[in-house]
Amino acid sequence: MNTVEPATGAKPARTNPVMMKWLKARGRVGRRAMGLAIVVPLVSACLTVAQAYLLATILHRAIVDQAPTASQATAVLGLAGLVALRALLAWIGEAAGIRAAEDIKQAIRKDLFAALMRRGPDWMRQRASGELASQILDQVEALDGYFSRFVPAMIAAAVVPVAIAIGLMPVDLVVGLLLLVTAPLIPLFMALAGWGAEAASRQHLTALSRLSGMFADRLRGLLVLKLFGRAEDEIVRVRGASDEFATRTLAVLRIAFLSSAVLEFFAALGVAGVALYVGLTYIGLLDLRGAELGLQAGLFCLLMAPEVYMPLRTLAAHYHDRASAKAAVTNLAAAFGSLPAVDEAIATPGVPWAPRGAIAVTARHLTVDTPDRGAIFADAMLDIEASDSVALLGPSGIGKSTLIEVLARLRGHQGRVELGGVALADIDEAALRRHVAALGQRSRLFHGTIASNIRLGRVDATDAELRAAAERACVLDFADRLPEGLDTPIGERGRGLSGGEAQRVALARIFLRDPALVLLDEPTAYLDRETEARVMRAVLDFAAGRTLLIATHSMAVAQLMNRICEIDGQRRIVSRVVAPTSLVMQGVA
């Protein structure tokens, strides 16, 4: 198998300015902490200047004036005070950066999840849940360094070098000018270093993520490769791919590392230039200033020279944070289709709807197309009278669940569907949910207890009501055998429930509600006949005075209904009075 990229391979998606703008807009959430994280390094730079000045003074007095050490104690203490203050500021700055990043990440996560929940079930069905969860967790986490480290470092790099150069002018014009002459160049070199570092980290990240992608791909399919006897060959390919990526990346890095050499060059030039200039001035070989230059001033200039380039170094060290953030934003935009607006409006409410008693269901010209299974309904029609009970039969995969999902407005469709004479599409979301109860084929149980899962049906249900609902749905059959009963934890870290048990828990939720229309998708699948009969008695009891539609494979269930419907080969819904026995055979599996 090839490991090289396709000849026509598209470039990895680039971040567009809109995305970076979005990132900046998000940054406003953590404004206060961010402001602190930005200001602190600037204050700290001022203290660095004071510290260097004091140190130069002490050395001057000791060496030139030969002042006794004891007389310098105050100055040394002052130096210690400055150091302590700078350490404190360093802690504050770092903690503020972390806080800003955490505030921003929390806000982004909240918005992303809210945006996710606003999406229709159709959209959600086409995505892998693990992938989406990883976006909200891991991709958002990748924004961390951008806010906590990169942004403060960038501002410090833009301000501090120029400020120091100007600050040095009164001490020695030439040194100040030397640094200020490079000052207009600093943005240039910053860009140069930035481009270099960014190109390096981008190339590096792209290459690494490609390589990791391929490696993960082969690991995922390792069993298939092994079964076809190809795994050993693939080792050679893994090696080849790694080596090729290494060669290619290194070629880019060779140039990109020049940026660190450039930084090194300027830092060394600063120190060496100041040392030589000041030294030559002292011994009189160079005289560019009118007044005498003391040791104190000379040492001060020397001590400050590396500090000019320090912020640039810090920036270069954090440059990959920017690249990671850019990549993360690109990923988020790709996974969610669009980035959630910073202040997204709440969806507009639909037509208020308050049906009294059971409601009728009608569908005209109902057409449902799915990308992977083709047409499921084509111009189908359906009429269910209020208070009627209808069974929907047919082999699995024919579209029973789809019809239930359409009627519960969990799946997009074409044509007109009306509930109680009101167009389904117009009904207010909250009202729809209040009056229509739907049980899916594979209901999700959430982390929590059996009781907390049932209570999702009605949050304010009393314990007695909850227990009654659990009893009707035959949940107590298994729950009472557990040591903790209904309070048994379930979900990932709790006890696993079997398919039949989960389905009964989900059914119990519905028994807590007061719907006008009840839609049940295979409520008795996985149940033995005796339990099925008890569950169905409870369902029929509950459905009195409501409209009921049950998708089922079980003839025993179907015969309890007033009417039986079926989806035929023309993808329409047809009524039938007597069900042929062959249907039962086909219906299994």
Binding site: A62, Q106, F113, M117, A133, A231, G279
Partner: protein, 550 residues
């Protein structure tokens, strides 16, 4: 860590070069700053240009500057080039170790994100040398060099300088790692809770919408996100001590050295220029503390990653080849005899299952999902071994033959068969590297995918996966089916081959099974309705055993 040591030993030359250059960079920087201070102070004290040796120091200043630039460049290049070699070594090592281990049986290895985590772990290990090992080694060597230098020029300051340097660059970062580890556990826990709250919301979205409970899910995600923030802030307050300690350590060491130096100067045992030079050298060497601190932050994650990878590499394969394997009989009945299989400790899947399958027969196995259909197929390939009973091909127990021979005899289309990154041709040729285009199109036709491939501008050379063409679920499934059909194996096991196909195509494929399998033995595990005559027999798998249908 054992894994890393053996990998580093293999590339020790390159690593030592990178380390040497890193030390040289540090030494040049320290020397440049020190010499500058010495020269500058000396010049200030010189009474005239005649008595001052100008050329030595100024040559040294220029020399060290140049050395510093070159050494920095070389260090980065050497370090990365060796890291890339190690990166390749790690992947090859893990890949080859995993071959005998798949399929991994532990539950932790079956989740979808196992591969993602392993890949991330490997990436963490890639950068271990550059980010963690090299800075720490440089600091230790730097301390030795500094000690030696001070011992010559300013012996009195050796203890304070070395203690200060050691505390700042080695001890305090270690302390921060330890502190971070404890609060790190809370971060990991809250992140896991957030993940499951998010997954609840996504997986249960339809239920939440139907129940009108979306707001509740949003609230619980908000709470979990807030908990993550709190935990991370607590950790952040500890991490923030890192930079503060560097400032404090650097400053305190410089002040202590200065104070000691001043009294030595007063006593006349050191000259002013030498004192300034030594002091500036001490200050300059603290430049290594930045990378160390960043590296220390990563140490916890890196050692956890190393532990996970090591435990994987140390695993023993569950299924092993016999010492003296026999050949797989070319033809012969496949017989399952009283086969029992239990999943984990107590989840019984198969109990006393009997099945005889004559060469060239086609059978279908139906049953509820979770009944054990896929397990049944896996047992025939020894993906796992039976717990009781045995499986024979032509009278030979499959545990007596080499796995590779068995795999060549029996081909499987599994439910989760992947499409690999690569071209369509690459994907198909996994089953038969020698197949020509005619053979590839023949199997694509059988899988009802030939029309699609012919319509692609690049045909069989179309790139799939990352940055290439993406296939729909149905197309991907058919490509994997075509791949299995291309295999020269005599026995085909197809697990839900028509999942993801639309109904007419599914019916067409199943009606055509006879032609598709070309006289090979076939076991079909399926939910689909089978047309008459598609297979010779249909079995239902229920309660761990097979019963004949119809």
């Amino acid at each position: 860590m054992r894994l890393l040591f053996s990998l580093y030993a293999k590339r020790s030359g390159g690593l030592l070069l990178a380390l040497l250059l890193a030390c040289l960079t540090l030494a040049a920087g320290v020397a440049l700053f020190g010499v500058s201070g010495w020269f500058l102070t000396g010049a200030a004290l010189a009474t005239s240009a005649m008595t001052f040796n100008l050329f030595g120091p100024s040559a040294m200043v220029r020399g060290f500057s140049f050395l510093r630039i070159v050494a920095r460049y070389g260090e980065r290049l050497a370090g990365h080039s060796t890291t890339f070699k190690i990166l390749s070594d790690i992947r090859v090592r893990i890949f080859s170790r995993l071959i005998p281990l798949v399929p991994l049986r532990a539950a932790a290895h079956r989740t979808g994100d196992f591969v993602a985590r392993l890949t991330a772990d490997v990436e963490t290990l890639d950068m271990m040398f550059l980010q963690v090992v090299a800075p720490i080694a440089t600091a230790i060597l730097g301390a030795l060099g500094l000690g030696l230098f001070l011992w010559i020029v300013l012996p009195d300051s050796v203890p304070v300088a070395l203690i200060g340097f050691g505390l700042t660059t080695l001890f305090l970062p270690g302390l921060i790692v330890l502190a971070g580890r404890r609060s790190g556990a809370a971060t990991v826990r809250t992140a896991a809770e957030l993940r499951s709250a998010v997954l609840d919301g996504i997986d249960g979205h339809a239920d939440l919408v139907a129940l009108g409970a979306v707001d509740g899910a949003r609230r619980s995600v908000d709470e979990a996100a807030a908990a993550v923030r709190t935990a991370r802030l607590r950790q952040g307050r500890r991490i923030a001590f890192g930079p503060a300690f560097v400032v404090l350590g650097t400053g305190a060491t410089a002040i202590a050295t200065l104070y000691v130096g001043l009294s030595v100067l007063e006593a006349g045992r050191v000259s002013g220029p030498v004192l300034v030079g030594a002091l500036l050298a001490v200050m300059a060497i603290f430049e290594v503390s930045g990378p160390i601190l960043r590296g220390a932050g990563r140490l916890g994650a890196a050692s956890a990653a190393a532990r996970r990878v090591q435990s994987l590499v140390d695993m023993q394969p569950a299924v092993v080849d016999p010492a003296r394997p026999v050949a797989v009989p070319g033809a012969g009945d496949i017989v399952f005899e009283k086969v029992g299989f239990t999943h984990g400790r107590d989840q019984t899947i198969l109990t006393g299952l009997d099945l005889t399958l004559h060469a060239g027969e086609r059978i279908a196995v139906i049953g509820e999902s979770g009944a054990g259909k896929s397990t049944l197929l896996g047992l025939l390939l020894r993906l796992v071994d039976v717990d009781s009973g045995c499986i024979r091909i032509g009278g030979v127990d499959i545990r007596a033959v080499r796995q590779a021979d068995l795999h060549a005899h029996v081909a499987l289309l599994s439910q989760d068969a992947p499409v690999f990154i690569g071209t369509i041709r690459d994907n198909l040729r996994i089953a038969d590297p020698a197949a020509d285009d005619a053979a590839l199109f023949a199997v694509l036709e059988k899988a009802r995918l030939d029309g699609f491939v012919r319509r692609l501008p690049l045909g069989l050379d179309t790139w799939l996966g990352e940055s290439g063409e993406t296939l729909s679920a149905g197309q991907a499934r058919r490509l994997c089916l075509a791949r299995t059909l291309l295999s020269p194996a005599k026995v085909l096991l197809l697990d839900e081959p028509t999942a993801g196909l639309d109904r007419p195509t599914e019916a067409e494929f199943l009606a055509d099974l006879l032609a598709v399998t070309t006289g090979r033995t076939l076991v079909l595990a399926t939910h689909a309705a089978l047309p008459d005559g598609a297979v010779d027999r249909v079995y239902r798998l229920e309660d761990g055993a097979l019963t004949l249908e119809g």
